[in-house]
Assembly symmetry: C2
Homo-oligomer: 402 residues x 2
């Protein structure tokens, strides 16, 4: 049992794996045969080297500008090092004794971001699936919501949260562009209405101004939420500030590593009180779904400081522009079909002839990655602008020349 | 907007903060005044330096052998570097396209650990609060559980999960040593019984052999679960293998950074089917509470490979022995009172005279950290053996000489 501290050389060697990975990715087919729980340990340096070979050097890289596929971002390198800090400090936000710095950093990050959404506070959670669950839980406790209503394009986490909470779930149809049909909402007196700002398959934003009257309105802005930080695009989410709660994924358009998201409330004190549990060893109430919880605000704070609000907006604007440029190529070309003009950087498109999946595979063979979805029961390609330097012209050319 | 890759020098400088932190901790009182969302960005290197000053150099260190307080472990340094890998790869386990390596690594880790608990599979979650919620959700879906029953010492997450799921929650008294009174369980025909293996305040393990008959039995082994890997102590959790589900925190006695835990099922295929949601862009069903999810198996796999099963057992045995040694000091000294002999490394103790909180503060001033809890409505000190080299003799001497 040798738990000595790492030396400079240990850490440098470990980080060289990251640098090699940045320069080129190598493949090693050893994952199948490795024993992750050997009887006798290999030591930390060797385990780190092996893990680099087994995972780092084999993983699909979202750092590539050929990635125009899922909602998984290239992470700024400051998140790699601050995530290492987070692992070393191992702050636990559950208790002030064990997470003072992490709690204060999270409070600062929430205070800096919440006003952009018209909210007065909230907390961080490991993903917008939990943010949506937290919001619906608050709606049930505070507003006595007896059902959850959302569009047919709402994220599956909304139906999941309703199910966990024991609330009936009702869906409302969308128009062709993916917007909830507001004249079909029905009676929302006892309902929690969930509107989507940035649907997973289409990026469409439900109309939010004027906000429909319901017992509680939650906006799932997991994808498009950060556009509120862009002077150019913030009006796309006009009305969101009149909701009772908003979910935003930081591990999408704020370029964080998983698991990083925010649940924001217009009246966070009331919400946090309704979602509090106490305990014998806790000096402060445990708020929300999570118990022990990592200091996920630390890499986010580092990123916000590194980029600044201007830098965040610049990257968001670049992503939106690249998606629009790609959509323009598709729309002008009779060989392709565009589902609808992209609203928030998500493009649904496909070839007029031939298999959607075959084109996707041929693009992947050239290092260009797009994803696939179903719209109205049919296969479509789906391209998500999350890398601020996507090679959209090259991807279009590659798709054309198949 | 400059998102270039880090240089060797960038990463080395960032990691030097970690090395400085290992050598000594420095304080910097700038957290109050810092602006985490400046208009103009500072760049990644400067933001990383600032974050090190604001957080790393100010955080309470669980790496100290004077830490005998909460269930927050010193993390092996291989988790710092592999957590950096995880942030860089940013695998998303939600989708095979975006998380192939992370999914395979998690499957390997679960397959290696589950048999030690008599379970046939499961998945990773960000903490045992979510593991307990997942288990109770499965109990409701599969066994039709209509209430949740647990001891008065059960973790607050059990009551929270029952509340979220809309299930009534019933508590059962414990004996003085902290074991659920099995003759007071009542009718469990429609119940999910939650037994605790390692209560938060006392470390006590509910009797599990023979396992009471209930619609579903879940064991919250968040704390004591890893003892199943120790040939010396595994019998302390005898009977656990007959439960339907088991929760284990890896960020407790497997020395992982937050958020890392496992929910294991005796029939995982059935459980995963009951907890599955599909979606238009998902190639595989989304299992469990989380949606997008980090590759938390990667640092855990690195740790298991580094320590090996023998190394894990050696560290667990050392922790248990240190707690017993400390309890022996307390029991032999008429100035102190011991709640009960420690079962799984958690010691509840206090001075016979004087304030519990005053002693805690005086110890903290000397670099010795213990936590505080309430038992039978009274204040007790609580010491958790999670560091394999706790200075128990020095802590006892310091407590004596107050």
């Amino acid at each position: 049992m040798n738990d000595s501290q790492p030396t400079e050389s240990d850490l440098k060697k470990a980080l060289n794996h990251l640098l090699e990975w940045c320069a080129e990715q190598r493949s090693d087919n050893a994952l199948t045969s490795v024993n992750v729980l050997p009887d006798t340990g290999l030591g930390q340096a060797e385990a780190g080297r092996l893990t680099a070979n087994l995972s780092l050097k084999r993983a699909q890289s979202f750092q590539s500008p050929g990635w125009f596929a899922h909602m998984d971002p290239p992470t700024p390198w400051v998140t790699w090092t601050t995530q290492a800090f987070t692992a070393a400090m191992n702050q636990n936000l559950l208790h002030p004794d064990t997470g003072e710095i992490g709690r204060r950093m999270e409070a600062k990050v929430v205070a800096a971001l919440a006003p952009h959404f018209g909210m007065d506070g909230g907390h961080m959670v490991p993903g917008s699936t939990l943010a949506n669950l937290t919001a619906l839980w608050a709606a049930r406790e505070i507003a006595g919501a007896k059902e959850v209503v959302a569009s047919e394009l709402a994220h599956l986490s909304v139906a999941k949260a309703a199910h966990i909470l024991g609330l009936p779930y009702r869906t409302v149809p969308c128009d062709r562009a993916g917007h909830i049909e507001t004249d079909q909402l029905g009676n929302l007196e006892g309902s929690c209405l969930v509107l989507t700002a940035g649907a997973t398959s289409t990026g469409s934003v439900d109309p939010m101004s004027p906000m429909p009257k319901a017992a509680w309105v939650h906006v799932d802005a997991a994808w498009a939420g950060p556009l509120r930080l862009s002077p150019t695009h913030r009006t796309k989410l006009a009305g969101l500030e009149t909701a009772q709660s908003v979910a935003v994924s930081a591990h999408k358009w704020l370029w964080q590593p998983k698991d990083s998201a925010l649940i924001l409330f217009r009246e966070s004190k009331t919400a946090h009180q309704a979602l509090s549990f106490g305990g014998a060893y806790l000096a402060a109430p445990n708020i929300g779904v999570m118990g022990s919880s990592a200091a996920r605000a630390i890499p986010l704070a580092a990123t916000l400081m590194a980029f600044g609000r201007d830098g965040i907006a610049e990257r968001l604007d670049a992503c939106v522009a690249l998606a629009e440029r790609f959509a323009a190529h598709i729309q002008a070309d009779p060989e392709f079909e565009l589902w609808a003009p992209p609203e928030t950087g998500v493009v649904a498109w496909r070839p007029v002839k031939g298999e959607v999946s075959a084109l996707r595979e041929r693009l992947a063979a050239q290092g260009y990655f797009v994803s696939q979805t179903k719209l109205d029961g049919e296969d479509w390609l789906r391209s998500v602008a999350i890398h601020p330097a996507i090679k959209v012209d090259a991807i279009y050319e590659a798709a054309r020349n198949q």
